[in-house]
């Protein structure tokens, strides 16, 4: 199993997700994630591509807008079209929407402020390469940390996501119910993460890599990485 973590200027969760991937890779037979600098448009073949969180190019334009035009993204898109799984977390999700690999957009949080806290999210489908180690309907505690996490799409777009089973996670209360009080950023239909049509690209605002280690207070994020390694090994 080979995994690449793409590093953009301003990425700052590249090490964190590498640590989480490495933990699962070591438990699942070995291997070492590769860090790929964004100018390296020609990187080795891998089984998984991760776009980490951070503030690529400072997010001085729209979040993710500059990185979406980075040299490496042409190659990421090409491989995604061939079915190589791509995981985008936080800024990585924003880059995926800006690059057109996922529909919709991440707008400024409804509360207008940056929010960093644990939230609960509900797994909407366990039938994907990313979520196979979870149960459908399972509630996870995972942190968010973003200023622009308010998922938005037009009604037709939202209907297509619902109909296609493309909603990966929704913000929820700790009992799994989707209340507006549990929505930390105003996202349409409490959306915390979505798949592409083939369920090979996942973008999510919560950071599973931040709670994948009991020393940090929780491990609900770990099965996502364990499941990917298992499925792709």
């Amino acid at each position: 199993m080979k995994a690449a973590v793409i590093v953009f200027p301003g990425s700052n969760c590249d090490r964190d997700v590498t640590v989480a991937l490495r933990q699962s890779m070591h438990a699942g037979g070995g291997g070492e994630p590769t860090l790929v600098w964004h100018k390296e448009a020609d990187f080795p073949a891998v089984d998984l591509i991760v776009l980490p969180g951070g503030f690529s190019y400072g997010d001085y334009l729209r979040s993710g807008a500059m990185a979406a035009h980075s040299p490496v993204m042409t190659e990421v898109a090409r491989r995604a079209s061939r079915g190589v799984p791509v995981l985008g977390i936080c800024n990585g999700f924003q880059i995926l929407t800006e690059a057109g690999l996922l529909p919709g957009a991440l707008m400024r949080n409804a509360g207008l402020r940056y929010v960093c806290k644990d939230v609960h999210i509900r797994v909407e489908s366990s039938q994907t390469v990313f979520t196979s180690k979870y149960e459908t309907g399972q509630t996870l505690r995972i942190p968010i940390a973003h200023h622009d996490g308010n998922y938005s799409a037009d009604d037709d777009g939202l209907a297509r996501l619902e109909d296609g089973g493309q909603i990966a996670f929704r913000y929820c209360d700790n009992d799994g119910s989707h209340s507006s009080a549990a929505n930390p950023n105003g996202s349409a239909r409490n959306i915390a993460g979505i798949f592409n049509e083939t369920k090979t690209v996942l973008g999510m605002m919560p950071h599973p890599e931040r709670l994948a280690d009991a020393q940090l207070g929780g491990t609900d994020g770990r099965p996502l990485f364990d499941g990917l390694i298992e499925a792709l090994s």
Binding site: P9, R113, Q215
Partner: protein, 728 residues
């Protein structure tokens, strides 16, 4: 260059006798560029001219100290071949003028002080003081400062893990923004600013130089008056994205052998960084200012030398390493320019297109920097108030609810949820506890970090207040199970030319020195911020202490949260019911008088060593230090953190209940344990007072003399104030 007139000298903040000294050093009149350089180098901010004689009295050595004050940041040994590098610095004046950028660039500056020395920054903290919440500016300042700190720290990807906030009318016209960064480096890869090797190239990296922040150091060394908002152009603008690139590029270059010396361009920019490097190495510098990357055309040498544009570093490279270094910085899309070289002349020679525009001797300028032994008078001592003289509240329970919902004691969640406190995935103890706990990457060890100061104690009795600030930092580190190692201090005071203000400074220094000595807790770095006055009103003396401690095993730490029902709650340390200068006195009785609680440093050490031992042996299940608001507030915080109530019994002894509940005696902790016996026996052997005061359980708090108060009532009060105040 225009002629230097007495008016221009005065505008540069130089006194007549200081100007005479310049004439003596140069043997001629300075030109404007040279005058500007003298003025920033001799400003209070850069020269510490009022404080130096007193700073020398602080204890700065200890077993763990690798580099004490004098470097960009303090360096301590934390074992395993690693060092913690840390410092706290103020950005008070800029933050008052432009809260977002002032606070943001404060974070950027302190980060650079730390990674300049070779450390990867791993934690940011901030100690903030605002004016009266009712003052028309306070709300906007609070929102702007918090957004600025978050905006910078979140983007660079260093977690903001802790800090403190106070509100007091004494800060109405002069808020305090003190930012602290902690980094970790290998002990064999620590970099300093001492230049060596005449002929070695001097390289400029990072952002381009603009006209922002010219004379920031001079501004930070003068009082505020009406109309200071007009100084807005001297506030710098931060670019955290470039800072992030600069961190990565510098750390990458530091992995090679290319660097001789490195220094960030902070206050007084290119002037102080080049001066510092040459002065420490006993060398000279030649800088070709036309080589300086500039943001705008037509910038003058004066502007280039005094600009405080952010995210810039100066590096002395080994010969023939320019190509290697250039490749690293070009990879990160940062400016890189060789702008000069070291010389053996001992002079700073500045040229523009080959023509000399400034020529100054370095050592005489540094050595002749003014140093004042300013007159001071001790603060008048305040009488001790006996608890019996202070009336009890109408309702003890209501008094607790009021205190928990007061601006100085309410939850800071509204603030720290705007900070990314988890990036880097090593935050093991999040905000809201006694100290932040940050794991040392790829290990089971951790650093504990805190910032502390109780300004109302320092105002009431500077010496006692100074000692208390150190003791509380030591106690907060102890309360999570860490061994306290060393501190950084950020000394914020009013105008030192007034003897009563200088008296506050001297008193606080004496208290800090005393506490550091007794607790073996040396000062390894620091910053002095004077002239925190507006229209002649000084701030309350605020010597903020940033403390760092070491946790050897993350499995043996403590948090404040109650863990299980039916556990014994034990009070460790001596309780006398001291209410003078307490929050109870201020918030409930409406009084601001009285002496602050005595600080018995020997007792502090004895009690703390006992408690740390209990935590490390995992004999206690929760621990919280007692400070503002006393016992009742601490119990409530532990209950809220654990979502579990408690019942306290009637105390022995004749103390009035309100003094027992709200007194702020020092050197005390609350712990929980499955059974009281082990703790009581350990305390008896250590000669430390300890008593079982109650038991955990239920969904409310029952104090002696009160009805049960539900946790939801307490939580609503505690969590409610700041969101309601800020309007969201």
């Amino acid at each position: 260059m225009s002629e230097v007139t007495p008016e221009i000298v005065a505008e540069h903040g130089l006194k007549e006798d200081e100007y005479q000294r310049i004439l003596e050093i140069l043997g001629r009149a300075p030109n404007l560029l040279e005058l500007g350089i003298f003025s920033v180098m001799w400003s209070e901010h850069c020269s510490y001219k009022s404080s130096k004689v007193w700073l020398k009295t602080l204890p700065t050595t200890g077993d763990c100290v690798i580099h004490g004050p004098g470097e960009n940041a303090g360096v301590i040994d934390i074992g395993d071949g690693l060092a913690a590098i840390f410092k706290m610095e103020s950005h008070n004046h800029p933050s008052f003028i432009e809260p977002y950028q002032g606070a943001a660039t404060g974070v950027g500056g302190i980060l650079r002080d730390v990674f300049t020395m070779g450390a990867r920054p791993v934690a940011n903290l901030n100690a903030l003081r605002f004016g009266d919440p009712e003052h028309p500016k306070t709300k906007q300042l609070l929102s702007g400062v918090v957004a600025g700190i978050g905006g910078y720290g979140n983007c660079v990807g260093v977690p903001t893990v802790g800090g403190e906030v106070n509100f007091d009318p004494g800060y109405n016209g002069n808020i305090l923004v003190n930012a602290m960064t902690v980094g970790i480096a290998r002990t064999d890869r620590i970099f300093t600013s001492k230049a060596s090797g005449p002929g070695n190239p001097i390289v400029y990296v990072g952002s381009k130089t603009g006209r922002d922040g010219i004379h920031g150091a001079t501004m930070a060394s003068a009082e505020f008056a009406e109309g200071t908002e007009e100084k807005r152009p001297t506030v710098q603008v931060g670019d955290p994205f470039t800072e992030k690139l600069l961190i990565e590029a510098c750390l990458e270059l530091m992995e090679t052998d290319a660097i001789v010396a490195i220094q960030d361009m902070g206050a007084a920019g290119l002037t102080s960084s080049s001066f510092e490097m040459a002065s420490k190495g006993g060398l000279g510098v030649e800088l070709a200012l036309d080589k300086v990357p500039c943001r705008e055309t037509g910038m003058t040498p004066y502007e280039m030398m005094l600009s405080e544009s952010q995210e810039r570093m100066l590096i002395v490279l080994k010969p023939s390493r320019e190509g290697l270094a250039r490749r690293v910085f070009e990879k990160w899309d940062l400016d890189f320019a060789v702008i000069g070289r070291l010389t053996d002349t001992g002079r700073m020679v500045l040229t523009l297109h080959g023509e000399t525009v400034g020529d100054l001797p370095i050592d005489p300028l540094a050595e002749a920097a003014p140093e004042y032994e300013r007159p001071w008078e001790p603060a008048p001592s305040r009488p001790h108030i006996d608890a019996a003289e202070i009336p009890p509240p109408a309702d003890l329970g209501q008094a607790l609810v009021t205190l928990l919902g007061s601006p100085d004691l309410c939850s800071r969640r509204w603030i720290w949820e705007q900070y990314d406190h988890m990036v880097m995935a090593d935050t093991a103890g999040r905000p809201g506890g006694d100290a932040a706990v940050v794991r040392i990457h790829d290990s089971d060890r951790a650093l504990a970090i805190t910032t502390d100061c109780t300004p109302r104690y320092c105002l009431a009795d500077p010496e006692r207040g100074g000692a208390q600030a150190v003791a509380e930092a030591w106690r907060n580190l102890t309360a999570v199970g860490a061994l306290p190692l060393a501190i950084t201090d950020n000394l914020n005071f009013g105008n030192p030319e007034r003897p009563e203000i200088m008296g506050q400074f001297v008193g606080c220094i004496k208290g800090i020195a005393d506490a550091c000595r007794t607790l073996d807790f040396p000062v390894v770095s620091g910053n002095v911020s004077l002239y925190n006055e507006t229209n002649g009103h000084g701030i309350p003396p605020t010597p903020t202490i940033g403390g760092v401690g070491l946790i050897e095993d993350l499995a043996a730490t403590a948090t404040i949260a109650f863990k299980a029902a039916g556990e014994a709650i034990l009070l460790i340390g001596e309780t006398t019911g001291h209410l003078g200068a307490s929050l109870y006195l201020r918030e409930i009785a409406g009084r601001h008088d009285g002496a602050p609680p005595p600080v018995d440093l020997a007792a502090e050490k004895r009690v703390g060593d006992l408690v740390r031992g209990l935590i490390v042996q995992q004999a206690v299940t929760a621990c919280h230090d007692l400070s503002d608001g006393g016992l009742a507030v601490a119990v409530a915080e532990m209950a809220l953190a654990g979502g579990l109530g408690a019942t306290l019994g009637q105390p022995d002894g004749g103390l009035p209940l309100h003094a027992w509940l709200f007194g702020e005696d020092q050197a005390r902790y609350l712990v929980t344990a499955p059974a009281a016996g082990v703790v009581l026996e350990a305390a008896r052997q250590a000669g430390v007072p300890a008593v079982c005061i109650g038991e955990t359980g239920g969904s409310g708090l029952t104090l002696p003399g009160t009805d049960t108060i539900s946790l939801s009532t307490l939580r609503a009060a505690h969590e409610g104030w700041m969101p309601a105040y800020t309007g969201a």
